[in-house]
Amino acid sequence: MVTTFPTMQTAIDARHKRLEWYVLIGGILTDCRDVTTHHSVDDPVGTCTLTLNLPLPAHVQFGALVEVQAGYPGQVHTIFRGKIPKRDRLFDQNGARATLNVPSLGARLNRRDYTDVVFPGPISLRDVFNGLNARRGIESYYADDVTAPDGSTIITLGNTQAANGKTVKVPRKTGFLNFLTAAAELFGYRVYDTPFGVRMKRVSGMPDEAPSLVITEAWNALGAGYLDHIDGLINYWEVFGAKYDDEDGSRAVLRSIPDEVPYDPRLAPEGWARDERSSDLLDTVALCDIVRNVMEIDHSEPYEQVSWTTHGSPSLLPGDVVEVTSSTLAVSGKQWVLSVQHTINTNGFTTKCTGWRGAGIALPAGNDVVATLLRSAPVHLGDEYLSHYAVPSPSVATGSPFKVPFVVLEQYSALTIRARGHGCNSYLIGGKNSDADVSRFELWQFGERVGSGNLPILNEDLDLRRNYLQDQWWSNLVIPITGSIKPGAAELHIISGKDSRIGEAYAYDDFEVKEIWLHTAGAGEPTLPTPTGGA
């Protein structure tokens, strides 16, 4: 009597099982010598290698659908679906045969489009995945919600107008699969093909799902291996996001750093190792923080890869969770299935898998922006005595710049002067505030002007004679620093300009600035562990 298995677990545990396998090409049952299929979360397109006797049957044509089914009574599953792009024939002392190397159906997703594909944002990565699959006509695809490691914060892209116009663009030169793979991997997800369609799934951190199979030494494992190393052990991650001009004109470079890097004795004597990721898709600091946390979870502990071989497990897919226990290898617990390779030949049907899990811990975010107070007290530029100003008399001679020295740090990604001000580039003409563009700032370094720009327009409101001793009448003023400024000493020159529309006596623009801060982005540093002695 033939045993029928109710579950895959009962099948691979069974002492005796009867193999059934079928290769259908173009829907026709086709004799094959052997077959090997491979799917992996890190190889988005699955592959199948079939060996057939020559001459090839007439139905083995380019584009013919190859479907491989295998298993045992009650547990026969499809282990591969793809279309034939290539046929390789040969004969030698082992006979005449053809080898078919067949990519899985999801390979079509890697074709490029004739135009940029643009999604309006904010849009979840899952919706982008679904949209690109639908556009490519993929028959079957499925994505989980893409969330932060907390499991609830949905990842959206195209969030920032200034960075990307609140859109997500897939350039026409980029294959959809490459785009999705790169985007998903940032957040600990993988995009890969399975016999049942293209899948996007979290493969990151500790697996928290119920295991699909339980693999146990001395019971159902034909072989197993365990590899661990610290080659890629990184406990200090920095993540860089989009670079763009902010709404206030300042240059923004998004960056995420940890607040503090814990000491890791495996990285002695420094106790830390650094790496970074960057992507223009990351258009908020929150996204950068999420990516950094994913990297910390997945790469801040030694890489541990478990491999095992069992009798064929045709229902097992990459991204599944398997529990592996081996006392010999000192392995125990759930593993993400990274790759699944099925082999059917005269030695039977076996499945070889690799598994892994991320064991690190996400670190709190650190402050990436270093703010340096350059001047606190108000300064008056212009040519008039104005009693309602905080500083009634001009602080420097008329027409002279007010110089603010500062030091540019060794490492930075963006510099911005932020201050409070009022009245710049605004005159009272005919009883009304009139805009101007005469007052400006300049950046000087090593005796040369290395950058300049206009100050923003802040209404003069001279007729109101506001009391500028009160902070409420001051406005924020942002001066993005552009140009080739280098680390070292520099000066900010604030210059009151002269407007020809005004009488000579009052031609210079009167305004005040105070609380001048230099914001250096990209200069934040986490607190690093104290190195220990010895190597």
Binding site: R15, H16, R18, L19, W219, L222, T346, N347, G348
Partner: protein
Amino acid sequence: MMPRVSDNPIFAYGPLLGFYADGEQARFIFWRKEAAPPDWQGGRDLVANRVYGGRRTLYQDIGADPLRLKTGAWFQSKADFQRFKRLSASVGQLWMNADYTAHRDLSRSPAEQVIHRLGMHYAIFDNVVVTAITDETLDNDGGVRCKVQFEREDFTW
């Protein structure tokens, strides 16, 4: 010189016995030394995997071995033997005395597995391959004897 043809009366027995291919019959008598006639032999192709660290061995039944019939064949003449050698290059049909085999070709309909002709029940097997012809000997009366191995797929699986 006329080719010699054995006049052994045994060749009057079972005129339809033999191997059929390409529309021809290579006639022979099933010949044996032992009292019991040999029959088709089969078996399962089992892959055994010993499990490390335990006493378990896992078996995977990857299919049935082909059924094999190792028998002696006795030809009335060299011409019959040479015809058999020629036809053995093709996949053919084997006609046996139904009383001397426990097997039936399950790929054939029940009514066609055994037929009655000229006073004998013949068991017919399709898709038979001749995989070996050995130990050829020439009888003094012109007959030829040899050992033959036939194979066919096991449809009982």
